[in-house]
Symmetry: C2
Subunit: 227 residues, 2 copies
Amino acid sequence: MRLRHKPWAKEKLMQYPQYVIQNPEEKKGKWRNVFNNENPIHIEVGTGKGQFIVGMGKANPDVNYIGIELQDSVIVSALDQLIEEELPNVKLLNFDGENLKNYFEKGDVERIYLNFSDPWPKNRHEKRRLTFKSFLKLYEDILINGGEIHFKTDNQGLFEYSLKSFSEYGLLLKYVSLDLHKSDFLDNIMTEYEEKFSARGQRIYRCEVQYQNSIQKTEVLNERMSE
Amino acid sequence: MRLRHKPWAKEKLMQYPQYVIQNPEEKKGKWRNVFNNENPIHIEVGTGKGQFIVGMGKANPDVNYIGIELQDSVIVSALDQLIEEELPNVKLLNFDGENLKNYFEKGDVERIYLNFSDPWPKNRHEKRRLTFKSFLKLYEDILINGGEIHFKTDNQGLFEYSLKSFSEYGLLLKYVSLDLHKSDFLDNIMTEYEEKFSARGQRIYRCEVQYQNSIQKTEVLNERMSE
C-alpha cells in the first residue's frame, strides 16, 4: 500500500479513545470490560484502512472486532469510518501485530483474520510472512482452544506457502476456496485492496483453519485405527 | 473419458502377461519377485491410456510402476506403448482400484498417483471421489509408513475438496501448486487429458501429501509445546 504521510494522524487517533485503544497492555485478559459484553472477540492483523473490519462490525453486531494496524496514516481512515458509523463493537489498535502477546492473553481471541498480508516472496524473508510458524505459535498463544484463522489473499505463492505452513503446524483445513468471487461463499466483505484487484480479474484465495489440541488429534487417530 | 468399445481388447491384454498382470491376488506381498528387484513401487489408480505411467517408467528406471485401470478398451493403449518401449519397470492391472487390498499388502507400495480422477461433483456422490476418507484409509492399508499420494486435477472443486479431506485425515501437505504449468516444477509428465485441457488454458492443480504415524504427530506436538 502506498503511504501518504499525514502528520496530524497520530493526534487524531488519540482524540478518540472510545475507538482507538491507547493502552492495550492494560486490557490484556480484560477485553470484556472494554466492550461491556461477553461476545466473542475477532481480530484482524493488518487492518489497513479498515473497510473489512468496519464492514464486519456492521454485519455482525454480536461479535466484537479489533483491527490492528501499525501505520497511523492508514488506520486513521478506519477511525473516520467508525466516527461516522458510531459502531460500539469495533475498536482499533495502532500498534505492531508482532506484539500481540502484550495485548492479549491465551483465550482472549476466538478468531484471527489475515487479509492480503505482505507476501514477502523471497525465501530469505520467509520469517516475515504472517503465516510463518512463529506467527502461528503467536496466534495460538492468544486464541481460545479450537480458535481459527481466516485468511485471504490474491497472491498465489503466499497461499500455496500458507497451506503448507498450516498443515505442518497441524492446523485443520475447514474451508478453502481457490476462486472466492466465483464461489458460493456469500458473506464476503471485501477489503479496499480486494475490490481493486478482483476488479482486474485477479483470483482471490481464501481458507479457514482451526487449531486442534493434542486430545482432539489423538481422538482422530484412535478413531481411524479402530475403523 | 469417452469409451470406444474394443471387443478384442480383453484378449490382447491376456496375450502379454509380461506387461499385464493376470492374477494380482497371487502377487500380494511378493511384488519384488514380479519386478526381480528391490526398487520402490509406485502405483497409479486410474491409469487411462497410460501416457503418464509409461512416461514415468521411462524417466525413472529405478522405480517400479503399476498402472491400474478397469476399462480394458482404454488400458489396451497403455499396453501398446509398453510393447513398443519394452519397459521392464512398468506393469498394468486391468482391475478395479477399489479392490487394492486384494492385490497389495501393507508396505507393498511407496507412492500412489491420482491423476484427473472423476470429480463426482454432486454432494451425494462424495463417497465415490478417490480422495474421500474411505479411499485414504484404503491407500494407508497398502502404503509404507510415511507413504505419499501425488494428486493432480484440473477440477477446482475436486482439488478444494481433496485438500480438506487430506487435512481432516491428518495427512501432511508437502507440496502444492495452484497453477502447475506456470510453476517451477520441472519433472511433470502430462497425462493425455492434461495435455488437452491445459492447451485450452485450463489451470492444473497439484499436491503431494504424506501419511504420518502417531509417533511423528506426537513429536510435532511435543516440539511445538517445548518451544
